[in-house]
């Protein structure tokens, strides 16, 4: 009896110390944040007893910069876009991670080779691959090429575009006939930029500009636009969970990663790194695909992707990483945007205001 008591109290105290630990994870909220909650946070909390505080931000990179500059960091893990990752990493605002400590893939591939190209950096570990592409209403004319997005005669009506140079310029060039492989070479020249803006000029007065990822499905549902660029996961959610009459146009999709990072001076650095290593293993990344239609950043996760949480939708055809959609896809060039982000957005803002 005494021994039993001793054991239970020891266990209890263990539980208490474990439960006392917590980490703060900042992400994007919405359906995406919910998928991370289901696939990573809840199972990890159940497994280790570590409490995960989930915080939403419009862009988690913004509070990182503010906190590191102020010397008062409360974020342990943040989910950021590659362009912000590269910038913050070069500015020394992120911890450099011991990438070789990441677990091998389920099939034995070393982590360094298991991640899709562009999914692993000194300061960040990729979680998902998402796509920005054209979405349209099935009760209107369906586009058959990217050029149709700019063809007001073939498909009249308003279009939605993300407010910003990124995606809009790439889409304009691809619609103008530039092959995906040459888009960034073209955009690096003044003629290429002029060409992209000239293409955008042709639909300027028919564009509704959106900023948050939740807007495009809303614009489509309200009938405000006939088609729009959108993040594939948001449209999937509207199609499958809300039965909206939407469809995605996969050719010339623009691929991007989201990555987990640890801000410099994070209060629970070790615990944060343990969490990232666990959350980005083969099974967890595959699990996340059951909650939202973003592709896993590890190649070894692809075969493990199964059904959507509704238990009937096969996720394969909804994954941006599906081989059928990859042929003429464009992967965002991080270095290009880190270099030209300010310049092109200034030009874009001026173009928009004129």
């Amino acid at each position: 009896m005494k021994r039993f008591l001793f054991l239970t109290s020891a266990l209890a105290s263990l539980a208490v110390t474990a439960a006392a630990q917590e980490i703060t994870v900042v992400s994007w909220g919405g359906a995406y944040g919910a998928s991370q909650m289901e696939a990573y946070h809840k199972p990890y909390q159940a497994l280790t007893g570590i409490k995960i505080n989930s915080v939403d931000a419009d862009n988690p990179a913004t509070p990182i910069k503010a906190q590191v500059e102020a010397g008062n960091v409360t974020i342990d893990v943040a989910d950021v876009e590659p362009s912000d990752l590269v910038r913050l990493c070069d500015e020394g605002a992120l911890e450099v991670l011991a990438i070789d400590e990441l677990p091998d893939g389920a099939d034995g591939t070393p982590a360094a080779e298991d991640f899709i190209e562009g999914g692993l950096y000194d300061c960040g570990v990729g979680t998902i691959v998402y796509s920005t592409l054209i979405a349209y209403r099935t009760d209107g004319t369906a586009p058959t090429s990217t050029a149709d997005f700019f063809d007001l005669e073939k498909i009249p009506g308003k279009r939605g575009l993300r407010k910003g140079a990124k995606y809009a310029l790439e889409l304009a060039l691809m619609a103008d006939g530039v092959p995906p492989a040459e888009v960034y070479d073209m955009l690096a020249t003044p003629e290429g930029v002029d060409r992209a803006f000239a293409k955008l000029d042709t639909i300027k007065d028919q564009v509704v500009w959106w900023e948050a990822g939740a807007q495009p499905p809303q614009l489509l549902a309200d009938g405000e636009v006939v088609m729009t660029t959108a993040y594939n996961g948001r449209i999937f959610n509207a199609m499958i969970s809300e039965n909206q009459p939407f469809e995605l146009f996969w050719p010339n999709q623009i691929l991007d990663f989201n990555l987990f990072v640890i801000p410099k001076g994070a209060p629970n650095k070790e615990a944060a790194w343990e969490f990232i290593k666990w959350a980005t293993d083969t099974q967890r990344l595959a699990d996340q695909a059951s909650f939202i239609s973003y592709g896993p950043a590890r190649k070894s996760s692809a075969p493990l992707v199964g059904l959507f949480k509704d238990g009937k939708t096969e996720m394969g055809p909804h994954m941006p990483t599906n081989p059928d959609y990859m042929a003429d896809a464009l992967t965002t060039d991080i270095e290009f945007w880190a270099d030209h982000d300010i310049e092109l957005n200034e030009r874009f803002n001026a173009w928009l205001a004129s």
Binding site: V86, E346, S354
Partner: protein, 420 residues
Amino acid sequence: MAEIARDAPERMTAADGTPLKAALARAQGRARRRAFLLVAPLLVFVLASFVIPIGQMLHRSVHNPVFSANMPATTAWFGANPVGTEPDEAAFAALAADLAAAAEARTIGAVGTRVNYEMQGTRSLFTSAGRKADDLEAPFRAAMLDLDRRWGEPELWNTMRNVSSPYTANFYLAAADRFRDLDGGISRVAPERQVYLTLFQRTFLLSALITAICLLLGFPIAHLLATLPLRYSNLLMILVLLPFWTSLLVRTTAWMAILQGQGVLNNALVALGVIGDDGRIALMYNQAGTVIAMTHILLPFMVLPLYSVMRNINPSYVRAARSLGASSWTAFRRVYVPQTLPGVGAGALLCFILAVGYYITPALVGGASGQLISNLIAFHMQNSLNWSLAAALATLLLAAVLLLYWVYDRLVGVDNMKLG
């Protein structure tokens, strides 16, 4: 007796025998200290939440030490050599040493970003050179040019010299669509990049328009509120205040539901046959959307000061004017309106200053043509992370508002303003 009277002023004492003057001063000092202690929490709060942040913002708009702090040798070379000096071997050696050190300290990206603000496309020049800086060997000039031809460009060296001083007015130049050229003069940026002056102008014009509409709509409402019997005016007052108490975001989204192409208003017009189904009016994602939504949101700020002033206007003045033969229009114009001016001034100033800083509403319903300057300030705070430029833009906005306030004071007099 006469002697006592002469001495009395010096001998006047308090009850405890101390001179009256000293006792009075002590008592007053105590009262002042107590009064100060009472307001001290407010003072600390205002300092911490208002004065210091604004001071920091002003400072940030002219102070950016990123380059000088992380590239000390290059900065020293600029200090030792006057403008126009060709970069020599010593300059390249200093640059190479700084690049290596900055790459080691992981600050090279910040340095590159700083230079990139002034000269586009140079960020990767710094980061890629930083990665290879350890392998550079003398002669450094040749080695650096080998790395990338652009290291030899006079424009780049000129830009680096510009940013090497921690205090700079360049962000203000950028905020006025201008930049410092190769000769050190100030030129306008290319026409396709000019944006801030246009937006400042648009912000002030739209704010003035919104203020004017608020006045036109708010004046009759306030008059009605002030003259109706209390039980009706209280009910009306609640109708004015209800939207005032509702979240800004909720009201803006409600306007989106009303104004959009497939929205309530357009649907109603189509149903009534006023417009055809393909002739729906674009009331949102343009300036019209910004003006409509902001007018509604700012209306209470006009009505409330007007109401509080009108409430206290004695109706007998207008009655007197009428009985002396003035027409109702003349009585209104020459007797009533002048008495409402303190309320008009307060309401207009309040509406205008709030409108100038608005950002959520134009971002949601403004589309491309309804964007205001605060949307670009937000852009530089959140997206480009160029906080110095955001601070410069915000400072210009603040200065413009203060200037307006000063003009208002000269023309109308701030003492005449009545908020309630």
